[in-house]
């Protein structure tokens, strides 16, 4: 049971690190540091830097948060199945 929990934790932390990296790139790098370069590109009349700050990053956050919630649900179910399997076999 302990090694299942340890594995659950490794996966949880890995997921957090991946999502936070994307989050940091989008919110800090694209929306603040590179905003001037992005503004040179236009997206249907909207400067891309403006769009990144206003909408793009918020939509990215919604996707990240959705990925986190659904992946954690799956990890929870996997862990439960493994632990129940152990209990049944012991």
């Amino acid at each position: 049971m302990d090694e299942h929990i340890a594995e659950y934790w490794r996966k949880n932390v890995r997921l957090k690190v991946i999502l936070l990296t994307i989050w940091g790139v989008v919110s800090l790098l694209l929306s603040i540091l590179l905003v001037e370069q992005l503004n040179q590109v236009s997206l249907g009349g909207f400067p891309l830097g403006f769009w990144m700050a206003q909408q793009g990053s918020i939509f990215t956050f919604v996707i990240l948060i959705f990925v986190y919630a659904s992946t954690m649900d799956r990890y929870d179910a996997e862990l439960e199945a493994k632990v129940n399997g152990d209990r049944a076999s012991s």
Partner: protein, 588 residues
């Protein structure tokens, strides 16, 4: 005006109607305080979004974009990004821990009731700070719509909120706030779409995203209510009180003058609040000043890390059934909040292009209320009524959520020893009394904050929350070695340095680098609070109790031997450090 009156009244009546319905459902004391956690994720997400979208989101963002340009977009970005931090690091563990306010968590984590009182003081500071912009928004909105003095709106909203919180409690508030979210969304989205459809985003090739300075789109009559000094860069002839006058250089307009500007006249610059020029309005940081970059990053840090420390937001996650539904609630909330943020900038862009006279009258903060009037006729007054109703929803929902937190901190956390052994009826009385006291304080402070921008006030509340509570929550949940000594010192250092910096800025704004750090202190005070907590906790041994306490927070729900904790979390559990035994039970 008639539409405005009708719609605002409808919102107020509906608020109380739904609140009363909620009260009928709230049969037990636990219902009253945390809605017995029987609220489904979609309802809860609407309620959280309704509570989160305050005067700052509804009025403030558009007003700030109108004056400062695209750089004000960092406010909504930070508000949204903060939710992600809350979800990843705080929401589910706190739900499993069984703590439903930050004071609950602080006492449970360290097993010491003094911790609860210290943190409750922080809750009061943050909640009151966050109430100020709501009160200000109410005062300004009411003044613009009816011509009444500023204080009338402050008192009106203050009284309504005190009444609804005293009678409705948490369950009433949940449904009311869900209703408020949808009101706000309709109120901001419908006029925005109609305005874009009717007027478009450019005028003779001048796009809202372009870098031109603002010009009048047609003949405009501006009434100056106060004496104003204006800088006129291009000499032009205007009609002042019926007399054609040549304006150049710096001109003084007397109070009560009526000035007619012609189409294509450049908008003069008020000397005491200069406009952002077109280029820096449309393209932030084009001036390449590191000062502005640091200010933006500090603001982003405050909003991103402050969300988790806002007392009225965290409480909501306790009304979820378990950790997994906390996560689902957060997904829904962010989607709803993000959808709302599609719209506010449209009002700013419309205002800059079609109503640049707002720059001269100084009513930039209420651009959301003014721009729908462009439509004209009864359609225009209908749309104005709609945004007014949305604005009142914003004041009412955020203020009532905050007041619940204030009343809880006062009646339960600070005066806890007085009412702890009382029966349910006495505790409700204490809560209601605290709601009235808390509301009166907020109204009093609200009357004096008129000079400050709504969003700036909100940004400060976030900065204090980030400095005082973010380190406590993150380290308290994720680092078993955090000691009470470290936690106390960190909360005090973070809270006092950030609050002092902001008070200095409010009383006597500073310039240069010092000014940036005092006005946006988060970039200094948040790392400082983390460092103090870590330094004072370093090398101390940690008891097994704390280890198992933290394990209990992080195990998935169904791993806990006990079913989802189904104990009344009323703010009066006898031992008051109830979170400890409860969390231990879940280790399995």
């Amino acid at each position: 005006m008639n539409w405005t009156f009708f719609m605002v009244t409808t919102v107020i009546v509906a608020t109380f109607g739904i609140g009363l319905y909620g009260v009928r459902l709230a049969r037990t004391t636990s219902d009253f305080f945390v809605a017995t956690r029987a609220v489904g994720p979609m309802w809860n997400a609407s309620a959280i979004a309704g509570e989160y979208l305050s005067a700052a989101s509804f009025l403030g963002i558009a007003g700030l974009v109108l004056t400062q340009g695209a750089s004000a977009m960092w406010y909504p970005l930070g508000y949204a990004a903060g939710y992600l931090m809350l979800l990843l690091f705080v929401a589910a563990p706190l739900r499993r821990f069984g703590a439903y306010t930050i004071p609950d968590f602080a006492e449970g984590r360290f097993g010491n009731p003094r911790m609860r009182r210290l943190v409750a003081v922080g809750v009061l500071v943050i909640a009151w700070f966050y109430l100020l912009p709501q009160m200000k928004g109410a005062g300004v909105t009411f003044a613009v719509l009816t011509g009444a003095p500023y204080w009338v709106g402050v008192v009106l909203v203050g009284v309504l909120v005190m009444a609804s919180v005293s009678f409705g409690g948490m369950k009433g508030v949940t449904y009311v706030q869900a209703f408020h979210y949808w009101t706000k969304l309709v109120a901001i989205a419908v006029p925005a779409v109609i305005l874009i459809g009717l007027f478009g985003l450019d005028d003779d090739g001048r796009s809202v995203f372009g870098d031109q300075d603002p010009r009048f789109p047609g003949e405009r009559v501006v009434e100056f209510t106060e004496t104003e000094e204006l800088r006129v860069d291009e000499p032009m002839t205007v009609v002042v009180d019926g007399v054609p006058t040549l304006w150049e250089g710096v001109v003084t307009v007397a109070a009560g003058s009526e000035v007619v500007f012609d189409k294509e006249d450049a908008v003069p610059q008020p000397v005491d609040r200069p406009l952002a020029d077109g280029y820096s309005w449309a393209l932030p940081f084009s001036d390449r000043k590191p000062l502005h970059l640091v200010a933006a990053i500090s603001l982003l840090l405050a909003t991103v890390l402050g969300t988790m420390g806002l007392p009225h937001i965290l409480v909501r996650f306790y009304t979820n059934r378990d950790g997994a539904s906390s996560r689902r609630t957060a997904v829904g909330t962010l989607a709803l909040v993000g959808f709302f943020y599609l719209f506010p900038w449209i009002y700013a862009a419309m205002g800059r292009l079609w109503m640049p006279e707002l720059y001269l009258t100084g009513e930039t903060e209420v651009v959301v209320l003014s721009v729908p009037g462009l439509v004209g006729g009864s359609g225009g007054s209908f749309l104005t009524g709609l945004v007014a109703a949305g604005a009142f929803s914003a004041f009412l929902s955020t203020s009532s959520g905050l007041l619940v937190s204030v009343a809880g901190a006062l009646s339960h956390d600070l005066a806890g020893t007085l009412v702890r052994d009382a029966d349910d009826r006495r505790r409700l009385q204490a809560f209601r009394l605290a709601a009235v006291v808390g509301g009166l304080v907020a109204m009093g402070l609200g009357l004096v904050v008129r000079p400050y921008e709504i969003n700036v006030l909100v940004g400060w509340a976030f900065a204090i929350a980030a400095s005082a509570f973010c380190p406590l929550l993150i380290l308290g949940i994720w680092w078993p070695r955090l000691t009470m000594r470290g936690a106390v010192a960190g909360v005090i250092v973070g809270g006092i340095t950030s609050t002092t910096a902001i008070l200095v800025t409010m009383i006597e704004p500073q310039t240069g680098w010092i000014g940036v750090f005092l006005a946006q202190p988060a970039i200094v005070t948040v790392p400082l609070a983390f460092a103090v907590m870590a330094a004072l906790s370093w090398g101390r041994s940690v008891s097994d109790d704390v280890e198992s306490l933290l394990l209990g927070m992080h195990n998935p729900d169904r791993m806990s031997r006990t079913a989802p904790l189904d104990r009344s979390p009323t703010p009066n559990d006898r031992s008051s450090n109830t979170a400890v035994p409860r969390a231990r039970r879940t280790i399995g």
